[in-house]
């Protein structure tokens, strides 16, 4: 059933926002950046989709089946879906070959796709093709059986394969068009084909983007918002609330800075509501591959970070609630997370993954513990005496574009230094500009201690191990010293690999992953911190109308949503949330029974 929006629907279905992070490309086959694929999600449809309770739905594929051995997936495509140009002119029909061509593009290393690894982690022969060991693309596990039949062949049975299909690396792309435009693909709205709910009418980087509903969209009845206007502003975070009040935009994040003000003004209070938390997981990474400048003493850091007691002293010293106050001053605990895999992500026969035996003890205790922190500090000091220089310089960059991050950095610096003493650690907070932040900081190992986040790519605990794999770009735990096993790999890597290898027995698989994660936390390779989302916003959207999925692009789609005449307030939100949870349980049950 549809909820609250009932009579509360705006006359003009136009949704206006401001944003500060400009995309660099529309090329969804290449990007792995949320910003960028969120946009693509509204322009290009995928094989399947989720409904608003998170139940898989047909999308471009009308039906699908999987072979007995779990290796071959066959999709029947919807007929008569059109690729259109930015002017809405029909270009071609969407066929099975488009998925093949897109995959061919992604698996060509010279195209520099950021998500190829995800595709070749499941598809047969894909990795070999990518690495040039195979040159015949026909051997790769993707095939257009006929115009409307698409077949994927996997390396190994992959229970969560379906959920991966909403990720960018499984998007279709018209091969002829790719050929035609070559390098220019996705550089602007013209060099782009649309088969999704919207067409990008105007694309003026650093100015605005206008998306209008696609007239030839196969499911256009479900596209209620006719126009999306997204305006760029470097100061979006600062200006958005004011713009919202003046009725110039329909969405504004209400940062913790100004939340008090909004909450205390009845008129404004009626417009502000909490956000849903997401499955983004936030954690503090210790960097095992420090590549920061000499002045921050990377070599010293390398010594201390490889000392477990040192890590654990920090692990227990981080007062996560104090830190969270900078983002979530009203209910900080609702977002704290003690594991890397968030609660409610997946479950095993009704038991939440985080409550599996090995993980439960971490999941249910707050890592912040002053006493332990000081104990570990003593141990670390003993062990490291003479080997490391104290206080240890800890380079902690933050993104100046995220308004509360700077504050959090200062809070953490002061809180941890207070607790552990400045003779022990010297946290150096290092402001970095938002543009290219990840590139500049995390991916280049230009930090010692950093708040990082990770969003799931498919519905399996494995997804939360990806950032820590040797080719991840987070903190390179495989380089940690003292964990090397006979095969030359680190314990954690072996544990993960063992879990990954278990493909059919889900129960065993989950347990193995849980053990790996528990080990990871126990050894304090990272400090789990929080889940994403949350915070407060003023918005003319009903969050419960949105498609729902913890991963992939579905949640980014505007399809199915309506612009409200009046923003929700907190109370309405809570009520809607309760109702939604009820409805969802039913929906999931119903789906499971099918």
């Amino acid at each position: 059933g549809t909820q609250t929006s009932g009579g509360n629907v705006a006359e003009v279905q136009e949704y206006r926002t401001v944003y500060s992070g400009e995309i660099t490309t529309l090329n969804y086959l290449v990007t792995s950046t949320t910003n960028e694929f969120a946009l693509a999600a509204n322009l290009v449809d995928t094989l399947i989709d989720y409904d608003k309770y998170g139940v898989p739905q047909p999308c471009l594929a009308t039906e699908w089946e999987v072979s007995e051995d779990g290796l071959v997936w066959t999709f029947k495509l919807r007929e008569d879906v059109k690729w259109v140009t930015h002017e809405g002119e029909e270009y071609a029909e969407v066929t099975a070959q488009d998925f093949v061509d897109a995959m061919k593009y992604i698996l060509n290393p010279s195209n520099g796709s950021g998500t190829a690894n995800i595709a070749y982690s499941v598809l047969k022969n894909a990795e070999e093709y990518y690495n040039g060991e195979i040159t015949d693309f026909d051997q790769v596990g993707v095939k257009a059986v006929d115009k409307y039949t698409l077949q994927y062949t996997l390396k190994e049975p992959t229970p969560y394969f379906l959920s991966m299909l909403t990720y960018v690396c499984f998007f279709p792309a018209n091969g002829q068009f790719l050929e035609e435009v070559g390098d220019k693909f996705g550089t602007d709205n013209v060099n782009f084909l649309y088969n999704g709910a919207y067409i990008m009418e105007i694309f003026e980087p650093q100015n605005r983007r206008v998306l209008i509903a696609n007239d030839s969209y196969w499911d256009k009845e479900n596209v209620h918002i006719k126009k999306l206007v997204q305006t760029y502003n470097k100061e979006a975070a600062t200006l958005a609330p004011e713009l919202f009040l003046r009725g110039e935009v329909d969405y504004a994040t209400i940062s913790s800075d100004i939340l008090d003000e909004w909450m205390s003004d009845p008129e404004k209070e009626a417009m502000v509501r909490p956000n849903r938390t997401s499955f983004y997981s936030y954690f503090y990474c210790f960097n095992f591959d420090p590549r920061f400048p000499e002045e921050y003493e990377p070599d010293n850091w390398k010594v201390v970070v490889n000392n477990k007691n040192f890590r654990k002293s920090l692990f227990h010293a981080l007062d996560r609630k104090a830190a969270m106050l900078t983002a979530e001053p009203y209910d900080p605990e609702k977002r704290l997370s003690n594991t890397i895999t968030p609660k409610n992500f997946v479950d095993l026969n009704g038991v939440d993954y985080t409550q599996l035996k090995s993980l439960a003890k971490f999941a249910n205790t707050d890592s912040f513990n002053e006493k332990l922190a000081l104990e570990y500090k003593e141990k670390a000091l003993q062990e490291l005496e003479g080997k490391a220089k104290f206080p240890v310089k800890i380079l902690m960059p933050y993104n100046t574009g995220v308004s509360d991050w700077a504050n959090r950095a200062q809070v953490i610096e002061q809180q941890m230094e207070n607790l552990l003493g400045t003779d022990y650690i010297d946290i150096i907070i290092d402001p970095k500009p938002p543009t290219g932040f990840l590139q500049e900081v995390r991916r280049s190992g230009n930090y010692a201690f950093l708040e990082c986040n990770w969003g799931p790519d498919y519905a399996d605990p494995e997804t939360y191990t990806d950032p820590f794999s040797p080719d991840g770009t987070y903190n390179w735990p495989h380089l940690a010293e003292g964990y090397k096993e006979a095969n030359g790999k680190n314990t954690y890597e072996n544990m993960v690999n063992e879990a990954k290898a278990e493909r059919l027995d889900i129960e065993k698989r989950y347990k193995l992953f849980a053990e790996a994660e528990a080990f990871f936390i126990e050894e304090a390779f990272v400090i789990p911190y929080a889940v994403g989302g949350g915070g407060y916003s003023a918005s003319r959207l009903n969050p419960f109308e949105s498609l729902y999925s913890p991963f992939g692009v579905s949640g980014e789609r505007f399809k199915g949503q309506k612009v409200l005449a009046k923003p929700m307030n907190s109370q309405e939100f809570t009520e809607a949330l309760e109702q939604w949870e009820k409805e969802r349980a039913e929906a999931l049950k119903k789906a499971a029974n099918q």
């Binding site: 940062s255 003000e261 290092d430 402001p431 970095k432 500009p433």
Partner: protein, 332 residues
């Protein structure tokens, strides 16, 4: 001779005759003539600096601002040592709730309120003022030193003139802001980086300014006189040329301070400024900007902006008035 005197007796027809006739005879004696006194007449004893100071003090606004600045400078210096001052970086905790004392409006305890994580704005503003002034002073001083050296050589040593002009033309064609951004980007944001980057760019103008002046005064006769007397170039520069630049140098230095602070704010604005952990007027304003949309929190922008404006305006005005005052033409 007698003839001419007759004219006098006969010809005096002036109507003041009556009053002048009864002047005491004794007054018509010769007065003593003192050549030395005559030599001394008309000119008062004069001191350059005193006159400069006097002329400066005649400008009431500048006088007021000067005292304000002296007070303010003294205050920023001693502020941390005054009783009851808070730390600029410490995050204060609300004792009742155990949480950070966020966005606490100005009151008796926190004179300028607290910021969004509970740091004392009053302390931060003075600490920021110290940082910004430090940057300003260093940059001003450096600009003066390098600017003067280059400018003097440029203007005085004819052999190097065209070479330096060439270099200047090239450097001058790379806009200041661009160089500034490039440099701060390449280096880590820190007070040193700021100072360094601004020093790299600021001296150009100073040098040109000095050079133009030097060219004007280098061919004045008194410099020829010095050359005639065999005065070495070094001393010509220090004794004959530089003293004429004092006013300009002071002015430039005074102006360099607001300019440096302005650049600091600019760099912070584009995200290349000092980290928030080192308060500066630039990042205080930048922080304040984040909450400017909320009327009750605007004090976080207004306080630093006001302090900044007062400082920059004061230096600007003082610099200009001083430059005027130090021009001997303006000494009566």
């Amino acid at each position: 001779m007698a003839n001419s005197m007759d004219n006098l007796v006969n010809g005096s027809v002036d109507n003041t005759k009556d009053t002048i006739d009864d002047i005491d005879e004794s007054l018509f004696e010769f007065a003593d003539f003192d050549e030395i006194e005559a030599e001394k007449t008309g000119y008062s004893n004069y001191s350059y600096w005193r006159s400069t100071f006097q002329v400066f003090m005649q400008n009431k606004v500048a006088k007021f601002l000067l005292f304000l600045m002296i007070g303010l400078l003294a205050f920023t210096m001693i502020q941390p040592y005054l009783p009851g001052q808070k730390s600029p970086t410490k995050i204060y905790i609300d004792e009742n709730t155990g949480m950070q004392l966020r966005n606490h409006p100005p009151d008796k305890e926190f004179w300028f309120g607290t910021n969004s994580i509970g740091q004392d704005l009053w302390a931060r503003i003075w600490s920021g003022t110290r940082t910004s002034l430090l940057i300003g002073f260093f940059v001003g001083l450096w600009e003066a030193i390098i600017g003067i050296i280059v400018g003097t050589v440029w203007g005085y040593v004819r052999r190097l003139e065209s070479a330096i002009t060439g270099i200047y033309n090239v450097l001058n064609n790379i806009p200041t802001t661009i160089l500034l951004i490039l440099l701060t980007y390449i280096m880590k944001p820190s007070v040193f980086t700021m100072i360094f980057a601004m020093c790299m760019t600021g001296w150009l103008n100073m040098a040109r300014f000095v050079r133009n002046l030097i060219i004007i005064i280098r061919d004045r006769e008194y410099n020829l006189a010095s050359r005639c007397l065999g005065t070495p170039t070094r001393r010509i520069i220090t004794k004959n040329l530089l003293p004429y630049l004092v006013s300009v140098i002071m002015l430039r230095m005074a102006l360099a301070i607001p300019a440096a602070i302005g650049y600091e704010v600019f760099l912070t604005y584009i995200g290349l400024g000092l980290p928030v952990s080192i308060p500066s007027l630039g990042n205080l304003i930048n922080e304040g900007r984040r909450v400017m949309g909320v009327p009750s929190l605007r004090y976080q922008l207004i306080f630093p902006a006001a302090v900044l404006s007062i400082i920059t305006i004061s230096f600007y005005v003082i610099g200009n008035v001083f430059a005027d005052a130090s021009d001997p033409r303006n000494h009566v």
